[in-house]
């Protein structure tokens, strides 16, 4: 598969999940938080679409374009600045997944509304922030770059 623009070949088991494969190969941004595709911390992009990698068989990723937050470093850095300005980063466990969904949102919608943003955030549980600061930070980020 192609991960962040680099061709990678892994030995895997047929029942292996992509989140486990990626973590084993040091993509530490990909995390496991729930096992039921509810929390969003394992989010990656497959062909630019956000997907929970904890429920995606690695074999299915063969030949596909995989993006983790390491692959959108510049954007993630800019988003981190917006999170910092709005005080939106607390424990940060959910942040890389959010960065990828925000990136996908940016690719999919021209001028996302607050409603769009909140809709995207539903797939990213956050127990720290209360969400409002995240929404503000994402708006700031999208305003800066779109």
């Amino acid at each position: 598969m192609n991960i962040n623009g680099r061709k990678r070949i892994f030995d895997i088991r047929p029942d292996e999940l992509l989140a486990d494969t990626l973590r084993r190969h040091d993509y530490t941004s990909v995390r496991k938080g729930c096992d039921t595709t509810s929390c969003g911390v394992c989010t990656i992009l497959i062909d630019d679409e956000p997907v929970p990698s904890c429920a995606y068989l690695t074999v299915r990723a063969e030949g596909k374009k995989i993006t983790t937050v390491e692959g959108i470093a510049e954007e993630a850095e800019r988003l981190a600045g917006c999170f910092g300005d709005e005080g939106a980063d607390q424990c940060g466990f959910c942040n890389p997944g959010i960065a990828l969904s925000v990136h996908a949102l940016k690719l999919s919608a021209k001028a996302p509304t607050e409603e769009n943003i909140r809709h995207y955030l539903v797939g990213h549980l956050c127990r720290c922030s209360g969400y409002q600061s995240q929404v503000k930070a994402i708006r700031r980020y999208l305003g800066d770059t779109t």
Binding site: C39, A73, D85, G92, P96, L125, R127, C128
Partner: protein
């Protein structure tokens, strides 16, 4: 207030960028690849004795390294509660025991070369149980025929009312004046019972630990913990490993909220690694987090208020029954906070009583959870206050304003009740509650919106409110310390035992040091926390860090500044009084000669009277100045379905000076939304056999980004003399008001009083039917 450059400024978190980029930071990121994977066999029964465990088949499975049962552990009772020592929690837990006391309790563990093998081995363990009658209804627990803790050797560390033969983990009673007499004399009284439910913390990072032996043959654990020093101490006691052979490293923690104040997987990982000499890792599945870590203590609270006809509250009687579940972690301390951080809100009463029991049941253990005790008590008291206002024909805000605590005042409760011990008398040097209430009314538009408005489409909008207080650490018990070390080129290391668990303490502690030392935050490199490297700190709990650890950092920075001035004076050949300290430089007032910090530090390292400047200072509170807040909620409710949503939640908070206003806002808003979860949807449910029903995020509903429309948060101008740069703590205060504010708003909309949490449309419907 002094003018500050760094403190009270909106500074970005010092670690936000690396965290967003997904760099290795969290416990599991540091687990060695070859680490044995530990899986835990958990009890399917709510209460049973383990007659035997046959582990031969599991041990024979290729890839299985070790299987541990209760026979492999020294029989030392301990408490998992990470608290100061001696703990006010009973020592009633064994790492593994021959009894299981809830569905999910640990029976045995397997360590194997991979996860699949470990899971397969669990299925090969053959356990013979003698099933006992469980106690699942906490109101029937005291004196129940089934005794949950009948084992030998368990004990209390000092008197806490521990009577395991009656299923009582702790008990408490205090009374000021004569409550029964005052209530009998009262012109108006309110009596009501309230129920609060178990709530799950659901930090996004599951509980996780990994262990290895280092090249000096010491046990090194990376642990997602709020209390690394307590973890080291408890491990040493329970497993009989000398304290000097254990190192606990707390890396980045993905949320705690009290759930990581305790020991969970550490015992098993430590034992596996000690026995096999191999690294091991134990990461809880989400189901295990729900099933087998902690919840908030469910409670029944009976509240009785007495008042004069003109609205002076004369007596408060609060009886509580708290459910600690299978083990007594924080049993007494949570319970006491239900009184001590709630009842002083109305300090002008003639009589006040707080009493009750904390009982064992066969459900998952209750433990520390943000706002512990306070949120339960607040819901009961602040609901009852609205009920009293209605009986008096008074506006509920006016009733509060007439009776609530004010700046310069005190309450006898502060001296009587501490956390597990006697308390500490204190006056409210800062209490801007009056402003918080007035400003909250303006921000929500109380005058126009109270109690309700028709907005058409069969919907109503109503408002409700509550006031709250917390504390700032536990005086005379919990200590924090900080080390500041000067480096060449003139930057500093700040080493703290304080544990950043996502709340941003590394950032605000750096701000305090940078402010005092007159440098930019980037020049203060923070490291937290590692039992080998950083000084002690009790940990991140009880709203301690800003006030207690912050004061330690402030003291250390002041001492470092003094040392720097001495060195600069020596170097410039003048007296210390002649030095004008400018942070990055020193100027002689005598001859104007200047010395940069960078040059001074380089000289100290390499050239003249060489030395390492390093200072360590400690702080413990001699009081616990409470942050206060007023919370106002506006809800929109459907008159037919009774479904409702939050339109706006206004918080006006007095936490002294905010070291970092944005991070403080994050603490408040995060707390509000967790409190709204408890008020509206979250409910840990067990089936009749004790099995957990809400074992995933599909069944346990926490708020999402779509659930809360608007949060409005403001801070009162306030300066707490005893706090670092005027600060009080702010970690818990946000969570306290939502249950009562929502209950009051629902009442104001539809005239029904919901006395159990969460406040669901179903309960509102049922209450309306009953009323009709």
């Amino acid at each position: 207030m002094k003018k500050t450059k760094t403190v009270n400024q909106r500074i970005r978190s010092i670690d936000g960028k690396g965290i967003m980029m997904g760099r290795a930071a969290y416990t599991d990121d540091f687990a060695p690849k070859e680490a044995l994977v530990i899986k835990v066999l958990r009890s399917p029964h709510a209460f049973a004795r383990i007659k035997s465990i046959d582990k031969s088949k599991a041990e024979a499975l290729p890839g299985v390294e070790i299987v541990l049962t209760h026979e492999d552990f020294p029989r030392n009772p301990f408490t998992r509660a990470g608290q100061g020592y001696p703990e006010p929690s009973p020592h009633d837990k064994y790492a593994l025991d021959d009894h299981v006391r809830y569905v999910g309790d640990e029976v045995a563990c397997v360590a194997a070369h991979d996860e699949e093998t470990a899971e397969a081995a669990l299925k090969l363990l053959e356990v013979d149980y003698e099933i006992k009658e469980p106690v699942l209804d906490f109101e029937k627990a005291k004196g129940h025929a089934s005794i949950i803790h009948a084992e030998e050797g368990i004990h209390e560390m000092f008197p806490i009312g521990f009577e395991p033969e009656k299923n009582v983990a702790a008990a408490y009673h205090m009374e000021v004046d004569d409550v029964e007499k005052r209530l009998a004399e009262s012109e108006v009284t309110v009596t009501s019972s309230f129920y609060t439910q178990a709530q799950s913390h659901t930090a996004l990072e599951p509980h996780t630990v990994n262990a290895r032996l280092d090249y000096q043959d010491r046990l090194v654990l990376y642990s997602a913990t709020q209390t690394p020093f307590h973890v080291r101490r408890i491990l040493s006691q329970a497993l009989e490993i000398p304290l000097n052979k254990i190192r606990v490293i707390k890396p980045r923690v993905g949320g705690g909220f009290g759930g990581k104040q305790a020991i969970h997987g550490e015992m098993l990982a430590a034992m596996v690694t000690m026995k096999t000499k191999k690294p091991s890792r134990l990461t809880y599945t989400r189901k295990e987090v729900f099933e087998a870590t902690y919840t908030r203590h469910p409670m029944r609270i009976d509240m009785r208020l007495g008042a004069t006809k003109d609205g002076r509250i004369t007596a408060i009687d609060c009886y509580g029954l708290s459910d600690t579940g299978a083990y007594g972690e924080h049993a007494l301390t949570v319970f006491m906070v239900t009184g001590s951080k709630v009842l002083p809100l109305y300090n002008k009463v003639d009589a006040v009583r707080f009493h009750g029991d904390v009982v064992y049941t066969n459900r998952v253990s209750s433990g520390a959870y943000r706002g512990y005790g306070a949120i339960q008590g607040n819901y009961a008291l602040e609901s009852a206050i609205d009920m009293l206002a209605e009986k008096l024909g008074m506006d509920p805000v006016e009733l509060r304003q007439k009776n609530m605590i004010a700046e310069g005042e005190t309450s006898p409760i502060f001296e009587i009740m501490g956390e597990g011990t006697e308390g500490t008398a204190m006056n409210m040097e800062t209490c801007k509650l009056d402003h918080c209430v007035k400003r909250g009314m303006e921000l929500i538009g109380y005058k126009d919106k109270f109690p309700r408005r028709e907005i058409g489409n069969n919907k109503l909008r109503s408002v409700g409110m509550a006031i709250a207080m917390q504390g700032s650490g536990i005086p005379y018990i919990d200590m924090g310390a900080a080390t500041i070390k000067l480096n060449d080129d003139g930057f500093y290391n700040l080493l703290v035992g304080a544990t950043d668990i996502g709340q941003g303490s590394d950032t605000i502690l750096a701000q305090i040091a940078a402010e005092e030392l007159g440098v930019d935050v980037e020049k203060v490199v923070v490291y937290s926390s590692d039992t080998d490297l950083t000084p002690f700190d009790a940990g991140a709990y009880a709203s301690s860090t800003t006030y207690v650890s912050g004061n330690a950092v402030w003291k250390a920075a002041k001492t470092m500044k003094k040392r720097l001035i001495e060195e600069a004076a020596r170097s410039l050949g003048v007296e210390v009084e002649d030095i004008d300290f400018r942070g990055t430089s020193f100027k002689s007032k005598k001859d104007g000669e200047e010395l940069s910090l960078s040059d001074l530090s380089n000289t100290l390292f390499y050239n003249d009277d060489q030395k390492q400047l390093s200072v360590t200072e400690s702080y413990y509170g001699t009081k616990s100045p409470p942050p206060f807040m007023a919370g106002f909620v506006e809800i929109e409710i459907d008159k037919e379905t009774c479904e409702y949503e939050v339109v706006d939640y206004v918080s006006v908070v007095d936490c002294g000076v905010t070291i970092n206003p944005k991070l403080a806002q994050g603490q408040v808003e995060g707390g509000i939304v967790q409190g709204l979860g408890m008020a509206m949807t979250e409910d840990v449910k067990i089936a009749a056999n004790g099995k957990l029903v809400t074992a995933d995020f599909l069944n346990y509903k926490i708020p999402t980004g779509k659930d809360i429309r608007k949060l409005t948060t403001e801070f009162a101008a306030s300066y707490e003399e005893s706090g670092p740069y005027g600060a009080k703590s702010v970690g818990e205060i946000g969570i306290d008001t939502p249950p009562a504010a929502i209950a009051n708003a629902v009442y104001n909309a539809l005239g029904v009083r919901i006395k159990s949490l969460p406040i669901t449309p179903e309960k509102i419907q049922a209450a309306r039917t009953e009323k009709d």
